[in-house]
Symmetry: C2
DNA sequence: GCCCTTTCTTGACTTTTTCTAAATTGGTCG
DNA sequence: CGACCAATTTAGAAAAAGTCAAGAAAGGGC
């Protein structure tokens, strides 16, 4: 594991804190995005924690700055969109005037806690939708989004 | 039908074009909103055509102005939200930075034509979703939105 | 018709996102 | 290694959508 990380990191600066960009770097390579400082830093925040995340440009930028990364908000927007286009992220629309990005790109749905403006994943396995009409001729379904809006205190 | 319309219209100005506000007026009365000129005009555009509509504040405002109604955009926003709160409209979020309002408030879902930014209703009867987890304790489902995003030319 | 309250309007303002032009960086080639 | 070119980043301006506030106007009960 450590060997692998070291190898992959290669000539890229890993910073004094070790080689924490390994996974992020792998992902960027995989989709053909040039691994710049900013993309590596954002990728690390998004993917290297292991757990799935739901961020907005604002929250991710804030988090990056808090962690000492020098990234502008515009770059965060660019990066989120590039990651989305590359399939590393999924954009979830729940709320007018705020875009959420989900690190979980597998097939799944969402709870949206309206009181807290928080998303929660619902694994799609087990969820079945039947009876939907077929898409009009010549068009193709790009995605089916199911959002369950929830009000009230959380358990 | 004509009698009824005349009766209901009562003392309210119906304009020289007849009594076209009848249905709109009824709806406002039903939900306890004071039937002002602006609300009547917008209600007419929304409800009196008979068919279901999907509008944004922008498009409705434009339409109202085109029809000679003197309404400000802020009033259109206010009215759309009041109508939504009263259950006359349903808000549909498909697209970041643009709120759609649907005159069809019955239980149904949507196609969203990504290329044209157009919504299309899907009748919910026949559509069944199974396997969804229950809402967390203490919270209440306020709505389940199913949006089928479609790419490509329309039939 | 009068008065009180609700509603409407205008215009400024906020928030989120995009754009632009200049500066910087990554990767390549010699 | 050093120069170079194209991709990327940046700051700040600008756009787009929606909200807010204060005064003006209009409903509706009397």
């Amino acid at each position: 594991m450590e060997d692998q990380a070291t190898k992959i990191t290669g000539g890229v600066a890993t910073g004094s804190s070790g080689r924490p960009y390994a996974q992020s770097l792998q992902r960027l390579r995989a989709v053909g995005l040039r691994p710049t400082r900013q993309r590596l830093a954002l990728g690390r925040l998004l993917f290297d924690t292991g757990c799935d995340r739901h961020v907005t440009a604002e929250t991710l930028h804030e988090e990056a700055v808090r962690h000492g990364a020098k990234v502008s908000l515009a770059t965060v927007y660019n990066t989120l969109h590039q990651f989305t286009d590359s399939g590393l992220l999924r954009e979830v629309v729940v709320d007018c005037g705020r875009a959420y990005f989900d690190t979980n790109v597998s097939d799944h749905h969402h709870f949206f806690h309206e009181d807290e403006n928080k998303l929660e994943d619902i694994c799609a396995s087990g969820v079945a939708v039947s009876g939907l009409p077929t898409a009009p001729e010549g068009s193709e379904v790009s995605r089916v989004d199911i959002i369950i809006r929830i009000k009230g205190k959380r358990a």
